[in-house]
Symmetry: C2
Subunit: 231 residues, 2 copies
């Protein structure tokens, strides 16, 4: 009989809003029922149960009834509220990709070294990437799904260009971390890869700096803004 029942939470919150913490406030079960979108009878039962469990006190003066929340009721609300608050605050704000290093250079290696791209990398990323991209084969569905959801987050957009002979597509860059090393996950407008491959670029040679070789398992973390509008 000690724990606050889930269905009483909103009722108790409504009583707080009505100012019933320190003073007895007059209240009717029908108005309370309306506030919590339940029937008058439900509100009446809630009050009876809250009282039976020591979360509120009631005072009757003839027809009128006043309600006050007890310290126990106050403490219980604080508990619930902080549980919810802390569960919301415990969110790690990044997308995680797990995979293994794929053999060879990525298909983007050649293109990424073109002036039309490197000039933009320099201004937008702050560096010209090591010539050669790192291919990562994603291991699980979760990571492949994470790749799909990247679309919804802000990226650094490197525009496509033309060299007179042909045109080159845009590149979306997502700053990321691999073993605490700064890298960028890149999505190409035109790619031959399927969904299970991603490419990384970095200022230095990632394989060397992170001591990775073909087949190594890696985890990539892409920070995402808390204000995103995914879905």
């Amino acid at each position: 009989m000690s724990e606050l029942k889930i269905q009483h939470i909103l009722t108790l919150a409504e009583l707080f809003t009505k100012g019933a913490r320190y003073n007895f406030v007059p209240i009717t079960t029908s108005s309370l029922g309306k506030s919590i979108r339940k029937s008058q009878q439900a509100a009446s039962k809630h009050l009876m149960e809250l009282e039976a469990n020591g979360y509120v006190e009631r005072l009757r003066s003839g027809r009128k009834v006043s309600v006050r929340i007890t310290t126990k009721g106050h403490a219980e609300m604080i508990k619930i509220s902080s549980v919810l608050k802390s569960s919301l605050e415990s969110i790690p704000a990044y997308l995680e990709f797990k995979g293994t290093i794929s053999s060879g250079m990525g298909e983007g290696a050649y293109y990424m070294s073109m002036k039309g791209y490197t000039k933009q990398f320099k201004t937008k990323l702050g560096y010209i990437p090591f010539p050669g991209t790192l291919n990562v084969k994603l291991k699980d569905k979760e990571s492949i799904e994470a790749k799909r959801s990247l679309d919804a987050y802000d990226a650094i957009m490197v525009d496509g260009f033309s060299d007179g002979k042909r045109t080159y597509g845009w590149v979306k860059c997502y700053p990321a971390k691999v073993n605490n090393i700064d890298v960028a996950l890149i999505l190409l407008e035109r790619t031959h890869h399927d969904d299970s491959i991603i490419e990384l670029i970095s200022k230095a040679n990632i394989k060397k700096v992170a001591k990775l070789s073909t087949g190594s398992k890696i985890t990539i973390r892409v920070p995402v803004s808390m204000k995103s509008n995914r879905d």
Copy 2:
């Protein structure tokens, strides 16, 4: 089908704690059931219903299932959490007394002018009260109950003393406001009043300053600490 059901709140909070906001996290319905103190079947149903309403997404890889919270689910949790939080923050932190001015001076008038008390008032309240206390007859049960609950809150304690002939009891002072005028509600160790009478003291003549006369209705507000341990 749009509103988050109350009984799903804790389940969703648990998913947040498990990090399921941005990434799909593998989870079993039985472990989730344990976390929310419900059965495996209940957890399974919660997930199905949360998914049906667009609060979570699920990903199946054979036997394993991963769960991710959608933006809609995130928004709904924020909504609930802030409703609870704001209901807790909306608490007016004072005890309210409603009553009418009682005729004549309070019984404390004479005693309160004694040096043994006035010296303490000067140091503890910061002033020597106007000679004469104001009696207030409380109107309703709520106010009488508020008077009883004063006991639990911090007061300025004016100690009793002896003048050789007899002893005088302590006086508890609660700083308060009447029509925005600073007063103090006093509780006497020895009183002839019943529970429905309270006495007020103030630096100046309250009746004059607040333009009150016998029979006037007044409201007294006594601020209380948020950290109290009433009940």
